[in-house]
Subunit: 119 residues, 4 copies
Protein backbone atom coordinates (compact mmCIF):
# COMPACT_ATOMS: atom_id res chain seq x y z
CA UNK A 1 0.00 0.00 0.00
CA UNK A 2 1.50 3.29 -1.00
CA UNK A 3 1.39 6.58 0.82
CA UNK A 4 1.05 8.15 -2.60
CA UNK A 5 -2.23 6.39 -3.25
CA UNK A 6 -4.51 9.36 -3.64
CA UNK A 7 -8.29 9.57 -3.84
CA UNK A 8 -9.28 10.92 -7.25
CA UNK A 9 -9.94 14.69 -7.17
CA UNK A 10 -13.62 14.18 -8.10
CA UNK A 11 -14.16 12.38 -4.78
CA UNK A 12 -13.34 15.60 -2.93
CA UNK A 13 -16.41 17.40 -4.24
CA UNK A 14 -18.60 14.30 -4.36
CA UNK A 15 -21.60 14.11 -2.06
CA UNK A 16 -20.86 11.97 1.04
CA UNK A 17 -23.45 9.41 -0.09
CA UNK A 18 -21.13 8.39 -2.92
CA UNK A 19 -18.22 6.48 -1.35
CA UNK A 20 -15.71 5.45 -4.10
CA UNK A 21 -12.67 6.14 -1.94
CA UNK A 22 -10.01 4.95 -4.36
CA UNK A 23 -10.41 4.70 -8.09
CA UNK A 24 -7.47 3.16 -9.86
CA UNK A 25 -6.94 2.51 -13.52
CA UNK A 26 -7.91 -1.12 -13.16
CA UNK A 27 -11.09 -0.51 -11.19
CA UNK A 28 -13.29 -0.54 -14.31
CA UNK A 29 -12.01 -4.03 -15.11
CA UNK A 30 -11.85 -5.29 -11.54
CA UNK A 31 -14.09 -8.30 -12.14
CA UNK A 32 -12.06 -9.34 -15.17
CA UNK A 33 -8.84 -9.13 -13.13
CA UNK A 34 -10.37 -11.12 -10.27
CA UNK A 35 -11.49 -13.82 -12.71
CA UNK A 36 -8.02 -14.01 -14.28
CA UNK A 37 -6.33 -14.21 -10.88
CA UNK A 38 -8.79 -16.91 -9.79
CA UNK A 39 -7.83 -18.89 -12.88
CA UNK A 40 -4.10 -18.38 -12.17
CA UNK A 41 -4.64 -19.53 -8.58
CA UNK A 42 -6.28 -22.68 -9.96
CA UNK A 43 -3.36 -23.21 -12.35
CA UNK A 44 -0.87 -23.00 -9.46
CA UNK A 45 -2.96 -25.53 -7.54
CA UNK A 46 -2.90 -27.72 -10.67
CA UNK A 47 0.90 -27.57 -10.72
CA UNK A 48 1.03 -28.65 -7.08
CA UNK A 49 -1.24 -31.56 -7.99
CA UNK A 50 1.08 -32.53 -10.84
CA UNK A 51 4.05 -32.53 -8.44
CA UNK A 52 2.05 -34.52 -5.93
CA UNK A 53 1.11 -37.09 -8.60
CA UNK A 54 4.73 -37.34 -9.82
CA UNK A 55 4.00 -36.02 -13.27
CA UNK A 56 6.80 -35.62 -15.77
CA UNK A 57 9.03 -32.61 -14.96
CA UNK A 58 8.85 -31.20 -18.49
CA UNK A 59 5.05 -31.15 -18.35
CA UNK A 60 5.21 -29.34 -15.02
CA UNK A 61 7.68 -26.82 -16.48
CA UNK A 62 5.27 -26.20 -19.36
CA UNK A 63 2.53 -25.38 -16.87
CA UNK A 64 4.83 -23.11 -14.86
CA UNK A 65 5.68 -21.25 -18.07
CA UNK A 66 1.95 -20.87 -18.82
CA UNK A 67 1.29 -19.37 -15.36
CA UNK A 68 4.24 -17.00 -15.75
CA UNK A 69 2.80 -15.89 -19.08
CA UNK A 70 -0.65 -15.37 -17.58
CA UNK A 71 0.93 -13.25 -14.80
CA UNK A 72 2.79 -11.21 -17.41
CA UNK A 73 -0.51 -10.52 -19.17
CA UNK A 74 -2.06 -9.36 -15.88
CA UNK A 75 0.99 -7.14 -15.26
CA UNK A 76 0.77 -5.58 -18.69
CA UNK A 77 -2.90 -4.82 -18.17
CA UNK A 78 -2.10 -3.14 -14.85
CA UNK A 79 0.80 -1.20 -16.40
CA UNK A 80 -1.44 -0.01 -19.23
CA UNK A 81 -4.12 1.17 -16.85
CA UNK A 82 -1.58 2.69 -14.49
CA UNK A 83 0.02 4.77 -17.24
CA UNK A 84 -3.32 5.75 -18.76
CA UNK A 85 -4.79 6.68 -15.40
CA UNK A 86 -2.21 7.61 -12.77
CA UNK A 87 0.51 9.07 -15.02
CA UNK A 88 -2.02 10.91 -17.16
CA UNK A 89 -3.76 12.01 -13.95
CA UNK A 90 -0.51 13.56 -12.75
CA UNK A 91 -0.27 15.37 -16.09
CA UNK A 92 -3.60 17.09 -15.42
CA UNK A 93 -2.36 18.78 -12.25
CA UNK A 94 -2.87 22.54 -12.95
CA UNK A 95 0.16 23.90 -11.08
CA UNK A 96 3.10 23.50 -13.49
CA UNK A 97 5.71 22.85 -10.81
CA UNK A 98 3.63 20.34 -8.90
CA UNK A 99 2.67 18.77 -12.23
CA UNK A 100 6.28 18.27 -13.34
CA UNK A 101 7.07 16.75 -9.95
CA UNK A 102 4.01 14.49 -9.95
CA UNK A 103 4.71 13.30 -13.50
CA UNK A 104 8.35 12.56 -12.69
CA UNK A 105 7.33 10.64 -9.61
CA UNK A 106 4.64 8.60 -11.36
CA UNK A 107 6.79 7.85 -14.40
CA UNK A 108 9.75 6.76 -12.26
CA UNK A 109 7.46 4.59 -10.18
CA UNK A 110 5.94 2.96 -13.27
CA UNK A 111 9.34 2.36 -14.85
CA UNK A 112 10.67 0.82 -11.65
CA UNK A 113 7.68 -1.51 -11.58
CA UNK A 114 8.27 -2.50 -15.21
CA UNK A 115 11.95 -3.07 -14.36
CA UNK A 116 10.94 -5.48 -11.59
CA UNK A 117 8.82 -7.39 -14.13
CA UNK A 118 11.73 -7.62 -16.57
CA UNK A 119 14.06 -9.09 -13.97
CA UNK B 1 1.43 -36.10 -18.86
CA UNK B 2 4.02 -37.23 -21.38
CA UNK B 3 4.18 -40.49 -23.23
CA UNK B 4 7.90 -40.36 -22.58
CA UNK B 5 7.39 -40.42 -18.85
CA UNK B 6 9.10 -43.67 -17.99
CA UNK B 7 9.20 -45.60 -14.72
CA UNK B 8 12.79 -45.77 -13.56
CA UNK B 9 14.41 -49.10 -14.51
CA UNK B 10 14.86 -50.04 -10.83
CA UNK B 11 11.11 -50.11 -10.39
CA UNK B 12 10.87 -52.95 -12.88
CA UNK B 13 12.76 -55.36 -10.63
CA UNK B 14 11.36 -53.94 -7.41
CA UNK B 15 9.20 -56.23 -5.29
CA UNK B 16 5.47 -55.56 -5.86
CA UNK B 17 5.10 -54.41 -2.26
CA UNK B 18 7.11 -51.29 -3.09
CA UNK B 19 4.95 -49.10 -5.31
CA UNK B 20 6.94 -45.92 -6.35
CA UNK B 21 5.71 -46.02 -9.94
CA UNK B 22 7.40 -42.85 -11.17
CA UNK B 23 10.53 -41.36 -9.72
CA UNK B 24 11.46 -38.01 -11.16
CA UNK B 25 14.32 -35.74 -10.31
CA UNK B 26 12.14 -33.62 -8.07
CA UNK B 27 10.63 -36.51 -6.12
CA UNK B 28 13.22 -36.28 -3.34
CA UNK B 29 12.21 -32.68 -2.75
CA UNK B 30 8.51 -33.13 -3.38
CA UNK B 31 7.43 -31.74 -0.01
CA UNK B 32 9.57 -28.66 -0.45
CA UNK B 33 8.02 -28.07 -3.90
CA UNK B 34 4.52 -28.54 -2.55
CA UNK B 35 5.22 -26.04 0.24
CA UNK B 36 6.61 -23.50 -2.23
CA UNK B 37 3.64 -23.90 -4.57
CA UNK B 38 1.24 -23.58 -1.63
CA UNK B 39 2.93 -20.29 -0.75
CA UNK B 40 2.72 -19.09 -4.38
CA UNK B 41 -0.97 -20.00 -4.45
CA UNK B 42 -1.44 -17.88 -1.33
CA UNK B 43 0.46 -15.00 -2.94
CA UNK B 44 -1.82 -15.11 -6.00
CA UNK B 45 -4.84 -15.07 -3.67
CA UNK B 46 -3.24 -12.08 -1.93
CA UNK B 47 -2.98 -10.25 -5.24
CA UNK B 48 -6.66 -10.90 -5.94
CA UNK B 49 -7.44 -9.47 -2.51
CA UNK B 50 -5.38 -6.36 -3.30
CA UNK B 51 -7.35 -5.86 -6.53
CA UNK B 52 -10.59 -6.42 -4.67
CA UNK B 53 -9.63 -3.84 -2.04
CA UNK B 54 -8.57 -1.31 -4.72
CA UNK B 55 -4.94 -1.22 -3.65
CA UNK B 56 -2.49 0.95 -5.53
CA UNK B 57 -1.57 -0.54 -8.95
CA UNK B 58 2.18 -0.24 -8.38
CA UNK B 59 1.94 -2.24 -5.16
CA UNK B 60 -0.02 -4.91 -7.00
CA UNK B 61 2.61 -4.97 -9.76
CA UNK B 62 5.33 -5.45 -7.14
CA UNK B 63 3.49 -8.50 -5.84
CA UNK B 64 2.97 -9.89 -9.34
CA UNK B 65 6.73 -9.52 -9.94
CA UNK B 66 7.41 -11.38 -6.68
CA UNK B 67 5.17 -14.28 -7.71
CA UNK B 68 6.82 -14.43 -11.15
CA UNK B 69 10.20 -14.59 -9.43
CA UNK B 70 9.04 -17.36 -7.10
CA UNK B 71 7.77 -19.32 -10.11
CA UNK B 72 11.12 -18.82 -11.84
CA UNK B 73 12.85 -20.27 -8.80
CA UNK B 74 10.55 -23.31 -8.89
CA UNK B 75 11.25 -23.70 -12.62
CA UNK B 76 14.99 -23.54 -12.11
CA UNK B 77 14.78 -26.20 -9.41
CA UNK B 78 12.81 -28.46 -11.74
CA UNK B 79 15.22 -27.80 -14.61
CA UNK B 80 18.18 -28.64 -12.39
CA UNK B 81 16.63 -31.87 -11.25
CA UNK B 82 15.46 -32.74 -14.73
CA UNK B 83 18.94 -32.34 -16.20
CA UNK B 84 20.60 -34.13 -13.31
CA UNK B 85 18.13 -36.98 -13.38
CA UNK B 86 16.43 -37.48 -16.75
CA UNK B 87 19.21 -36.25 -19.05
CA UNK B 88 21.89 -38.03 -17.04
CA UNK B 89 19.60 -41.08 -16.91
CA UNK B 90 19.50 -41.10 -20.70
CA UNK B 91 23.30 -40.94 -20.73
CA UNK B 92 23.48 -44.19 -18.77
CA UNK B 93 21.64 -46.19 -21.44
CA UNK B 94 24.12 -48.98 -22.37
CA UNK B 95 23.32 -49.27 -26.10
CA UNK B 96 25.30 -46.44 -27.78
CA UNK B 97 22.75 -45.79 -30.52
CA UNK B 98 19.77 -45.76 -28.20
CA UNK B 99 21.79 -43.64 -25.79
CA UNK B 100 22.63 -40.98 -28.38
CA UNK B 101 18.97 -40.87 -29.38
CA UNK B 102 17.72 -40.72 -25.80
CA UNK B 103 20.20 -37.97 -24.89
CA UNK B 104 19.26 -35.91 -27.95
CA UNK B 105 15.59 -36.28 -27.15
CA UNK B 106 15.99 -35.36 -23.47
CA UNK B 107 18.31 -32.43 -24.15
CA UNK B 108 16.02 -31.03 -26.85
CA UNK B 109 13.05 -31.42 -24.55
CA UNK B 110 14.82 -29.65 -21.68
CA UNK B 111 16.00 -26.82 -23.92
CA UNK B 112 12.51 -26.34 -25.34
CA UNK B 113 11.16 -26.12 -21.80
CA UNK B 114 13.81 -23.54 -20.86
CA UNK B 115 12.93 -21.63 -24.03
CA UNK B 116 9.29 -21.49 -22.95
CA UNK B 117 10.43 -20.04 -19.60
CA UNK B 118 12.53 -17.37 -21.34
CA UNK B 119 9.63 -16.20 -23.48
CA UNK C 1 9.92 5.34 -38.10
CA UNK C 2 6.36 5.95 -37.08
CA UNK C 3 3.79 8.04 -38.84
CA UNK C 4 2.77 9.18 -35.38
CA UNK C 5 6.17 10.69 -34.70
CA UNK C 6 5.22 14.30 -34.27
CA UNK C 7 7.39 17.39 -34.03
CA UNK C 8 6.96 18.93 -30.59
CA UNK C 9 4.41 21.78 -30.55
CA UNK C 10 7.09 24.29 -29.55
CA UNK C 11 8.85 23.70 -32.85
CA UNK C 12 5.81 25.10 -34.66
CA UNK C 13 6.30 28.58 -33.23
CA UNK C 14 10.08 28.37 -33.20
CA UNK C 15 12.01 30.71 -35.48
CA UNK C 16 13.12 28.97 -38.69
CA UNK C 17 16.76 29.30 -37.64
CA UNK C 18 16.17 26.69 -34.95
CA UNK C 19 15.81 23.32 -36.69
CA UNK C 20 15.17 20.56 -34.07
CA UNK C 21 12.67 18.66 -36.20
CA UNK C 22 12.06 15.75 -33.82
CA UNK C 23 12.55 15.91 -30.10
CA UNK C 24 11.99 12.65 -28.31
CA UNK C 25 12.18 11.85 -24.65
CA UNK C 26 15.63 10.38 -25.00
CA UNK C 27 17.10 13.27 -26.99
CA UNK C 28 18.46 14.98 -23.87
CA UNK C 29 20.43 11.83 -23.04
CA UNK C 30 21.33 10.92 -26.60
CA UNK C 31 25.09 10.84 -26.00
CA UNK C 32 24.68 8.62 -22.96
CA UNK C 33 22.53 6.20 -25.01
CA UNK C 34 25.04 6.17 -27.84
CA UNK C 35 27.85 5.41 -25.39
CA UNK C 36 25.87 2.58 -23.82
CA UNK C 37 25.01 1.08 -27.19
CA UNK C 38 28.65 1.37 -28.29
CA UNK C 39 29.63 -0.60 -25.18
CA UNK C 40 26.95 -3.23 -25.88
CA UNK C 41 28.19 -3.53 -29.46
CA UNK C 42 31.67 -4.16 -28.07
CA UNK C 43 30.30 -6.76 -25.66
CA UNK C 44 28.62 -8.63 -28.53
CA UNK C 45 31.92 -8.54 -30.44
CA UNK C 46 33.59 -9.90 -27.31
CA UNK C 47 31.15 -12.82 -27.24
CA UNK C 48 31.93 -13.60 -30.88
CA UNK C 49 35.63 -13.58 -29.96
CA UNK C 50 34.96 -16.00 -27.09
CA UNK C 51 33.15 -18.36 -29.47
CA UNK C 52 35.97 -18.03 -31.98
CA UNK C 53 38.55 -18.83 -29.30
CA UNK C 54 36.53 -21.85 -28.07
CA UNK C 55 35.92 -20.41 -24.61
CA UNK C 56 33.89 -22.38 -22.12
CA UNK C 57 30.15 -22.32 -22.93
CA UNK C 58 29.12 -21.27 -19.42
CA UNK C 59 31.40 -18.23 -19.56
CA UNK C 60 29.88 -17.29 -22.92
CA UNK C 61 26.38 -17.68 -21.46
CA UNK C 62 27.34 -15.38 -18.58
CA UNK C 63 28.39 -12.73 -21.10
CA UNK C 64 25.19 -13.18 -23.12
CA UNK C 65 23.18 -12.68 -19.92
CA UNK C 66 25.17 -9.50 -19.20
CA UNK C 67 24.40 -8.08 -22.65
CA UNK C 68 20.71 -8.95 -22.29
CA UNK C 69 20.71 -7.11 -18.97
CA UNK C 70 22.42 -4.07 -20.48
CA UNK C 71 19.79 -4.03 -23.26
CA UNK C 72 17.03 -4.24 -20.66
CA UNK C 73 18.50 -1.21 -18.92
CA UNK C 74 18.53 0.71 -22.21
CA UNK C 75 14.91 -0.34 -22.83
CA UNK C 76 13.81 0.80 -19.41
CA UNK C 77 15.46 4.17 -19.96
CA UNK C 78 13.65 4.56 -23.28
CA UNK C 79 10.33 3.46 -21.74
CA UNK C 80 10.75 5.97 -18.91
CA UNK C 81 11.47 8.80 -21.30
CA UNK C 82 8.72 7.72 -23.67
CA UNK C 83 6.11 7.74 -20.93
CA UNK C 84 7.37 10.99 -19.43
CA UNK C 85 7.54 12.71 -22.78
CA UNK C 86 5.24 11.24 -25.42
CA UNK C 87 2.41 9.98 -23.17
CA UNK C 88 2.50 13.11 -21.05
CA UNK C 89 2.71 15.15 -24.27
CA UNK C 90 -0.50 13.53 -25.46
CA UNK C 91 -2.10 14.46 -22.13
CA UNK C 92 -1.41 18.15 -22.81
CA UNK C 93 -3.49 18.20 -26.00
CA UNK C 94 -6.13 20.90 -25.33
CA UNK C 95 -9.08 19.34 -27.21
CA UNK C 96 -10.57 16.78 -24.79
CA UNK C 97 -11.67 14.33 -27.48
CA UNK C 98 -8.38 14.41 -29.35
CA UNK C 99 -6.58 14.20 -26.01
CA UNK C 100 -8.40 11.07 -24.91
CA UNK C 101 -7.67 9.49 -28.28
CA UNK C 102 -4.00 10.53 -28.26
CA UNK C 103 -3.52 9.24 -24.70
CA UNK C 104 -5.16 5.92 -25.51
CA UNK C 105 -3.00 5.53 -28.57
CA UNK C 106 0.25 6.41 -26.81
CA UNK C 107 -0.49 4.26 -23.76
CA UNK C 108 -1.43 1.26 -25.90
CA UNK C 109 1.70 1.72 -27.97
CA UNK C 110 3.91 1.93 -24.87
CA UNK C 111 2.28 -1.11 -23.28
CA UNK C 112 2.69 -3.13 -26.48
CA UNK C 113 6.38 -2.19 -26.55
CA UNK C 114 6.78 -3.25 -22.90
CA UNK C 115 4.98 -6.51 -23.74
CA UNK C 116 7.51 -7.20 -26.50
CA UNK C 117 10.31 -6.69 -23.96
CA UNK C 118 8.70 -9.13 -21.52
CA UNK C 119 8.43 -11.88 -24.11
CA UNK D 1 37.38 -18.16 -18.89
CA UNK D 2 36.72 -20.86 -16.34
CA UNK D 3 39.23 -22.82 -14.37
CA UNK D 4 36.95 -25.79 -14.98
CA UNK D 5 37.35 -25.52 -18.72
CA UNK D 6 38.99 -28.83 -19.45
CA UNK D 7 40.62 -30.06 -22.64
CA UNK D 8 38.72 -33.09 -23.87
CA UNK D 9 40.44 -36.31 -22.74
CA UNK D 10 41.30 -37.25 -26.35
CA UNK D 11 43.47 -34.16 -26.63
CA UNK D 12 45.73 -35.47 -23.90
CA UNK D 13 46.92 -38.40 -25.99
CA UNK D 14 46.77 -36.52 -29.28
CA UNK D 15 50.05 -35.97 -31.16
CA UNK D 16 51.33 -32.39 -30.72
CA UNK D 17 50.77 -31.72 -34.44
CA UNK D 18 47.02 -31.84 -33.83
CA UNK D 19 46.09 -28.71 -31.92
CA UNK D 20 42.29 -28.61 -31.16
CA UNK D 21 42.88 -27.85 -27.49
CA UNK D 22 39.26 -27.28 -26.46
CA UNK D 23 36.22 -28.87 -28.01
CA UNK D 24 32.97 -27.55 -26.66
CA UNK D 25 29.41 -28.43 -27.54
CA UNK D 26 29.07 -25.43 -29.81
CA UNK D 27 32.29 -26.02 -31.74
CA UNK D 28 30.53 -27.94 -34.51
CA UNK D 29 28.29 -24.94 -35.13
CA UNK D 30 30.93 -22.30 -34.52
CA UNK D 31 30.51 -20.60 -37.90
CA UNK D 32 26.75 -20.42 -37.49
CA UNK D 33 27.19 -18.80 -34.03
CA UNK D 34 29.73 -16.32 -35.38
CA UNK D 35 27.33 -15.36 -38.19
CA UNK D 36 24.46 -14.89 -35.73
CA UNK D 37 26.60 -12.78 -33.41
CA UNK D 38 27.82 -10.70 -36.36
CA UNK D 39 24.18 -10.04 -37.26
CA UNK D 40 23.36 -9.11 -33.65
CA UNK D 41 26.33 -6.75 -33.58
CA UNK D 42 24.96 -5.09 -36.72
CA UNK D 43 21.51 -4.83 -35.11
CA UNK D 44 22.99 -3.07 -32.07
CA UNK D 45 24.81 -0.67 -34.41
CA UNK D 46 21.47 -0.10 -36.17
CA UNK D 47 19.84 0.84 -32.85
CA UNK D 48 22.62 3.35 -32.17
CA UNK D 49 21.97 4.81 -35.62
CA UNK D 50 18.24 5.10 -34.84
CA UNK D 51 19.05 6.97 -31.62
CA UNK D 52 21.49 9.19 -33.47
CA UNK D 53 18.87 10.00 -36.13
CA UNK D 54 16.21 10.72 -33.45
CA UNK D 55 13.91 7.90 -34.51
CA UNK D 56 10.70 7.30 -32.63
CA UNK D 57 11.30 5.70 -29.20
CA UNK D 58 8.75 2.92 -29.76
CA UNK D 59 10.49 1.85 -32.98
CA UNK D 60 13.80 1.77 -31.11
CA UNK D 61 12.22 -0.32 -28.35
CA UNK D 62 10.95 -2.77 -30.96
CA UNK D 63 14.50 -3.19 -32.27
CA UNK D 64 15.89 -3.63 -28.75
CA UNK D 65 13.30 -6.37 -28.13
CA UNK D 66 14.37 -8.06 -31.39
CA UNK D 67 18.02 -8.07 -30.33
CA UNK D 68 17.12 -9.43 -26.90
CA UNK D 69 15.18 -12.23 -28.61
CA UNK D 70 18.10 -13.01 -30.92
CA UNK D 71 20.41 -13.20 -27.88
CA UNK D 72 17.95 -15.53 -26.15
CA UNK D 73 18.06 -17.81 -29.19
CA UNK D 74 21.86 -17.85 -29.08
CA UNK D 75 21.72 -18.62 -25.34
CA UNK D 76 19.31 -21.48 -25.84
CA UNK D 77 21.56 -22.96 -28.52
CA UNK D 78 24.54 -22.77 -26.17
CA UNK D 79 22.53 -24.26 -23.30
CA UNK D 80 21.39 -27.14 -25.51
CA UNK D 81 24.91 -27.89 -26.64
CA UNK D 82 26.30 -27.47 -23.14
CA UNK D 83 23.85 -29.95 -21.66
CA UNK D 84 24.26 -32.40 -24.54
CA UNK D 85 28.03 -32.19 -24.46
CA UNK D 86 29.46 -31.11 -21.10
CA UNK D 87 26.79 -32.55 -18.79
CA UNK D 88 26.54 -35.76 -20.76
CA UNK D 89 30.35 -35.82 -20.88
CA UNK D 90 30.43 -35.72 -17.09
CA UNK D 91 27.98 -38.64 -17.05
CA UNK D 92 30.45 -40.78 -18.99
CA UNK D 93 33.14 -40.52 -16.31
CA UNK D 94 33.83 -44.17 -15.35
CA UNK D 95 34.55 -43.69 -11.62
CA UNK D 96 31.11 -43.52 -9.94
CA UNK D 97 32.12 -41.10 -7.21
CA UNK D 98 33.93 -38.72 -9.56
CA UNK D 99 31.01 -39.06 -11.98
CA UNK D 100 28.41 -38.08 -9.40
CA UNK D 101 30.53 -35.11 -8.41
CA UNK D 102 31.19 -34.05 -12.01
CA UNK D 103 27.50 -34.33 -12.91
CA UNK D 104 26.45 -32.32 -9.87
CA UNK D 105 28.98 -29.64 -10.70
CA UNK D 106 28.02 -29.42 -14.38
CA UNK D 107 24.28 -29.45 -13.71
CA UNK D 108 24.57 -26.77 -11.03
CA UNK D 109 26.70 -24.66 -13.33
CA UNK D 110 24.22 -25.02 -16.22
CA UNK D 111 21.25 -24.21 -13.99
CA UNK D 112 22.99 -21.14 -12.60
CA UNK D 113 23.67 -19.97 -16.15
CA UNK D 114 20.00 -20.49 -17.08
CA UNK D 115 19.02 -18.60 -13.92
CA UNK D 116 21.14 -15.65 -15.03
CA UNK D 117 19.30 -15.69 -18.38
CA UNK D 118 15.91 -15.71 -16.65
CA UNK D 119 16.76 -12.67 -14.55
Amino acid sequence: MSEFEVPVPAAVDAPPAEPAPHVHGYTANKDAYLRRLKRIEGQVRGIARMVDEDKYCIDILTQVAAVTKALHAVSLGLVEEHIGHCVVGAASEPDPELRAEAIDFKVKEATDAIGRLLR
